[in-house]
């Protein structure tokens, strides 16, 4: 019993350390935002935006089309032909939850392990030390552009997913109910509230920051051994997922 309690205490302590150090890293990265004016930092930011954002658009678009289609078909099966309720469900599910969450999941699956293993390999090869010796801050050169790039990518991908999924949902719905698409669009804009859009933006930003900070933290926190690289990547993915769902739960409980 005592051993179990000690183990629980130890595990909670480690989670606490992750939260504390992750927040400290994010704070340092925010403090180094002015370094974005330096060309190498800007290049790292563009590369991150390209990798996490633009190169993910295909997957997010495909998932968006399928999500909109599946959701509308399921809602029709469940409640019958009810245009307004279908639109409500689309807003509840796609705008409030699935948009930010699925964009974050795509970013986690593509970028989180990539960043963590890249930084971990650099740490193992002594490249982070090389940067320090050249007077290049790893936080401003490696961490900040990644956090900024992934946060912007998360925001843009969530918006893109929402547009694609809701567009597909409305097209399928208007085809199944034999309605004019323009009427559906007008109804959608009447129904959606400013709060819902704001919370979706807030969630996307929070998820982007959490995923990027966790990936960078686990990449940089490893000891100098090659076997630590895959561990860093898997920790980054699992903890990012967990943290994103916790954050989603907290925001949803606070605002809805």
């Amino acid at each position: 019993m005592r051993n179990s309690l000690q183990r629980l205490q130890y595990r909670l302590g480690r989670q606490g350390l992750f939260v504390r150090d992750g927040l400290a890293l994010t704070w340092q990265a925010l403090g180094s935002l002015p370094a974005i004016s330096k060309l190498p930092v800007r290049r790292a930011f563009y590369k991150q935006l390209l990798f996490s954002g633009i190169q993910s658009m295909g997957y997010v678009g495909a998932i968006g089309i399928l999500s909109g289609l599946i959701l509308v078909v399921q809602v029709h099966n469940l409640i019958g032909h009810n245009e307004l309720l279908t639109l409500h469900v689309l807003i509840w599910v796609i705008v409030r939850e699935l948009g930010p969450l699925l964009a974050a999941i795509v970013i986690i699956s593509r970028s989180s392990s990539a960043i963590a293993s890249e930084l971990a390999a650099m740490q193992v090869n002594g490249e982070i030390d090389c940067l320090r010796r050249m007077g290049v801050s790893p936080v401003s050169y490696m961490v900040m552009p990644r956090i900024l790039g992934m946060t912007l990518a998360s925001l843009a991908l969530a918006f893109y997913f929402q547009v694609v999924a809701i567009g597909t949902g409305m097209v399928v719905s208007s085809w199944m109910l034999d309605l004019a698409l323009m009427n559906e669009a007008a109804n959608f804009f009447d129904m959606i509230s400013f709060l819902e859009m704001t919370i979706a933006v807030l969630k996307s930003v929070c998820f982007g920051v959490i995923v990027s900070a966790a990936s960078c933290y686990y990449g940089l926190a490893i000891k100098r051994a090659l076997t630590e690289i895959p561990k860093a990547a898997s920790r980054a993915v699992i903890r990012s997922l967990l943290a994103v769902f916790v954050c989603d739960g907290v925001i949803t409980m606070l605002f809805f």
């Binding site: 330096k38 060309l39 190498p40 930092v41 290049r43 890249e118 390999a121 650099m122 090869n125 002594g126 490249e127 030390d129 090389c130 940067l131 320090r132 010796r133 050249m134 007077g135 290049v136 050169y141």
Partner: protein, 204 residues
């Protein structure tokens, strides 16, 4: 002569003894140390990455902590390249991180040092476009040396192990390049734990 770098009774746990010396504008000097650990410690202290427990390091009379970032450059033993950047990005990283320079000016600087280091024009473009993992050990060292020379700091700290395994003719070219760099108004401090090191004046 302006004193560019001054070690005044500098001590830290890995150093066998406290170090006191100064480097003037135009100097290229060799500091011999007892072991590799001590060499790393001296380089770390000179670059401001290790705290000294006693003494002070001055750059142009200003404490190292308060000097402008990038005023001391570094040549690593193995080139010290960043693996996810191409050679061109590696070479320009400290230059563009610590200051604002146009692409044309940078290209001119790179071309000038490449010709000093004896690289023929036909080899330059593939070399600059190559990722570090496709380079030979010698080419990696050359890229590291280029990076430091192009950055053009006040003082260049050289790990003299960069000359290990380099054929004597090439090593002579690199030494000449470093001397030329010092002659242009900088200073070079080579740190060595090896007996057969550079033929420069040794710091006592």
């Amino acid at each position: 002569m302006t004193v560019l770098l001054q070690f005044d009774g500098v001590a830290c746990p890995d150093l066998a003894r406290p170090y006191s010396f100064s480097l003037n504008e135009g100097d290229a000097r060799l500091l011999k140390v007892a072991s590799e650990a001590e060499k790393d410690a001296v380089i770390g202290v000179a670059l401001g990455k290790r705290r000294c427990t006693e003494g002070v390091i001055l750059v142009q009379g200003v404490p190292l902590d308060e000097s402008r970032p990038g005023c001391i450059g570094w040549v690593a033993a193995n080139g010290g390249l960043i693996s996810n950047l191409k050679v061109w990005e590696n070479v320009t990283l400290p230059l563009w991180y610590h200051g604002k320079h146009t692409a044309a000016e940078t290209e001119q600087r790179v071309a000038q040092w490449l010709s000093v280091l004896g690289m023929v024009e036909a080899d330059r473009e593939p070399f600059m476009a190559s990722p570090p993992d496709r380079l030979l050990s010698l080419q990696r060292k050359l890229a590291g040396l280029m990076r430091a020379l192009v950055q053009s700091p006040l003082v260049l700290v050289v790990d003299s192990a960069v000359f290990k395994g380099v054929d004597p003719r090439m090593a002579a070219v690199w030494e000449t390049a470093l001397e030329r760099y010092a002659a242009q108004g900088g200073a070079v401090l080579a740190v060595s734990d090896d007996e057969a090191a550079l033929p420069w004046k040794i710091i006592e």
